[in-house]
């Protein structure tokens, strides 16, 4: 799910502490706060560690009472079953294709419209922007039924088209790109127009290169939002060969593998690991994007 509302003003120095170091009498309290924060960190990261350790345990070790903390004989058997006996390579590929195409589509289409809304004068511009804003808060479930009917009519159920098209042009990307492009200096574009440059040239050679921060934020958030998206994919796809990773994992967790925790933990690792890598490497863009737009990946 992704949403946007009014931007929260943020200073760029968000990482810096606002307050000077607390005075000496507050020292003990500050130590207590630190201890609580470390406990909180353990509580939030702990389940991921538990997931990783669990994925390395054999089924026999899993059922042992009391449960072991560390795997006694770490094994990749669960992963081997996912990738050899089950069709996880296909689900992984499906997820990757859908997320990549949706991301590229949003970057292109949202930045084009963002440029038009920010820098071009044309009739209907204001109404179009109002329409974009109006749909920002509409919950995804509202479109579920008609979209399914539409995809059935177009014979697109169980295709990449069904998985991609409804996500290819989101309103929040337009909002983000418009805000970013509003900040571009008008003189720069005017100079280009005087020299006879086309609007497409100005957009692709001047506006886009100067909006890389917004594009990066939009790209990362769209990729992760799509990678994790579930409800529409669950509706749009019934054929197992078209499953995305979350649909496959949920189906196995509810069905024949519901007690096979080693397998389910390994499946979770496969969904979570790429996201963790992207997030930790690019975390700067997340918190900036979240703080300025309220987009939730």
């Amino acid at each position: 799910m992704t949403q946007v509302t009014t931007p929260v003003p943020v200073r760029p120095d968000i990482t810096d502490p606002v307050l000077p170091a607390p005075a000496a009498p507050r020292g003990r309290r500050s130590a207590l706060v630190n201890v609580l924060l470390v406990l909180g960190l353990l509580a939030l990261v702990g389940p991921f560690v538990w997931m990783l350790l669990g994925s390395l345990k054999s089924p026999q070790e899993f059922l042992r009472l009391p449960p072991t903390w560390l795997p006694e004989a770490p094994t990749l058997d669960n992963y081997a079953r996912l990738f050899n006996r089950l069709d996880f390579p296909t689900y992984f590929t499906n997820s990757l294709i859908v997320a990549l195409v949706v991301t590229v589509a949003n970057l292109l289409f949202c930045s084009m419209l963002g440029y038009a809304l920010a820098k071009l004068q044309f009739p209907g511009r204001k109404q179009l922007f109002l329409l974009v804003m109006a749909t920002l808060l509409v919950p995804g479930s509202v479109t579920l039924v008609p979209l399914f009917a539409l995809m059935s009519a177009l014979d697109l159920v169980n295709t990449y088209g069904a998985l991609i098209l409804p996500l290819a042009a989101g309103p929040f990307g337009v909002f983000l790109m418009r805000q970013s492009m509003m900040g571009l200096p008008e003189e720069l574009l005017e100079a280009g127009r005087v020299d006879g440059a086309s609007e497409w040239y100005l957009y692709s050679r001047i506006a886009l290169p100067l909006s890389t921060a917004a594009l990066a934020t939009l790209g990362i958030l769209t990729f992760l939002g799509t990678w994790n998206s579930f409800l529409w994919a669950l509706v749009a796809v019934t054929d197992e060969s078209m499953f995305t990773l979350p649909v496959a994992l949920a189906t196995f967790a509810r069905g024949q593998f519901q007690a096979d925790y080693g397998l389910l933990m390994a499946g979770s690792v496969v969904i979570v690991a790429p996201v963790l890598v992207v997030f930790i490497v690019l975390q700067r863009y997340f918190t900036q994007g979240i703080a300025t737009t309220g987009i939730k990946g």
Partner: protein, 316 residues
């Protein structure tokens, strides 16, 4: 023809010509502007705006499986779906469960996120980034994966939570199979997953509190609690509103957690409105009825959003 008249007709011609140029330029600007807008707008109309309206229309019909191939055969049944909804005990149960989840979950998530933000903002910490990343981690991970992990964490015999409770000699219950405890367990998981998001919003809000206000309150001898109560909290009101609205909208659409962890049980105690919509629409193919459920949810979200704006605005 006098020279004056000549100039006049020449002026009119020039005016006409420049009007034509302006018209052409305007037409060109329209074409270029809509050219840039077209790809997004077409996708938007077909796959978002259109379905939003179609959903409303469908909620007044008995649209079902046979109508997928031949929509002409659909009957308009007026408000029947909505009337049926109000008398449907399972829907009312789902609505109550969802309300429970929102009413308990949103304040708890806001409180946890605010505490984390205040702590991180105040504490003298090394590895500040590590903490921000760690606290935010659950927000960016798939809810399905998290629900699978938590189902295992909450397992009565094999789960980490009862294992930890066992260390302090507490015999942990079977959380997800217990009609009273299942929803609180799901709420705890939602707080765990979303507090990082609220924390980032509050951290941004805290940047907007001028440091000299704290200095002034310290000179006046204010305690830490006074400082929070009379300086920080009032100034965080817009941030709180923003976080509350976003969190509520997300929580009203509760789906993945019960779908994966409990399948709505035990005794429908964790069945959410979105899950019931999914079951009715795609289990039984009562698509018109499902559209009505979707619109009821949509209205609830709109009403709650307006309400929050009213309440949190009026308290300034």
């Amino acid at each position: 023809m006098s020279s004056a008249a000549q100039t006049a007709t020449g002026g009119a011609a020039r005016q006409r010509a420049s009007a034509a140029v302006a018209r052409r330029r305007r037409r060109r600007r329209t074409a270029v502007g809509w050219g840039f807008a077209a790809p997004w707008t077409i996708l938007f109309v077909v796959f978002l705006a259109g379905p939003i309206l179609a959903s409303l229309v469908m909620s007044f019909t008995d649209f079902g499986l046979r109508d997928l191939r031949n929509p002409v055969g659909t009957n308009i049944i007026g408000l029947d779906n909505y009337v049926q909804l109000l008398g449907d005990p399972v829907f009312l149960q789902a609505a109550g469960n969802t309300a429970y989840f929102v009413v308990a979950g949103v304040p708890l998530t806001l409180a946890a996120g605010l505490l984390a933000a205040l702590g991180l903002n105040r504490a003298v910490l090394r590895f500040r980034t590590l903490f921000r990343v760690g606290y935010y981690l659950p927000v960016v991970t798939s809810i399905v994966a998290i629900a699978v992990i938590w189902r295992f964490l909450l397992h009565p015999d094999l789960g980490l939570i009862n294992l930890l409770l066992g260390l302090v000699q507490i015999d942990g219950p079977n959380w997800l199979a217990n009609p009273v405890l299942a929803m609180p367990a799901i709420i705890a998981m939602a707080v765990w997953r979303n507090l990082g998001f609220v924390m980032v919003i509050f951290l941004a809000g805290l940047q907007g509190v001028p440091a000299d206000l704290y200095e002034a309150s310290r000179i006046d001898g204010a305690s830490t609690w006074d400082e929070f109560r009379y300086v920080t909290w009032p100034l965080l009101r817009p941030t709180t509103l923003f976080a509350a609205v976003i969190t509520s909208i997300g929580y009203l659409q509760l789906f993945e957690e019960p779908y994966v962890m409990t399948a709505g049980g035990p005794l429908n105690r964790t069945l959410s409105v979105s899950m019931y919509l999914y079951e009715q629409g795609f289990g039984f193919l009562h698509l018109g009825y499902a559209a009505a459920i979707a619109y009821a949810l949509f209205v609830a979200i709109a009403v709650l959003t307006v309400l929050q704006f009213r309440v949190l605005r009026s308290q300034t």
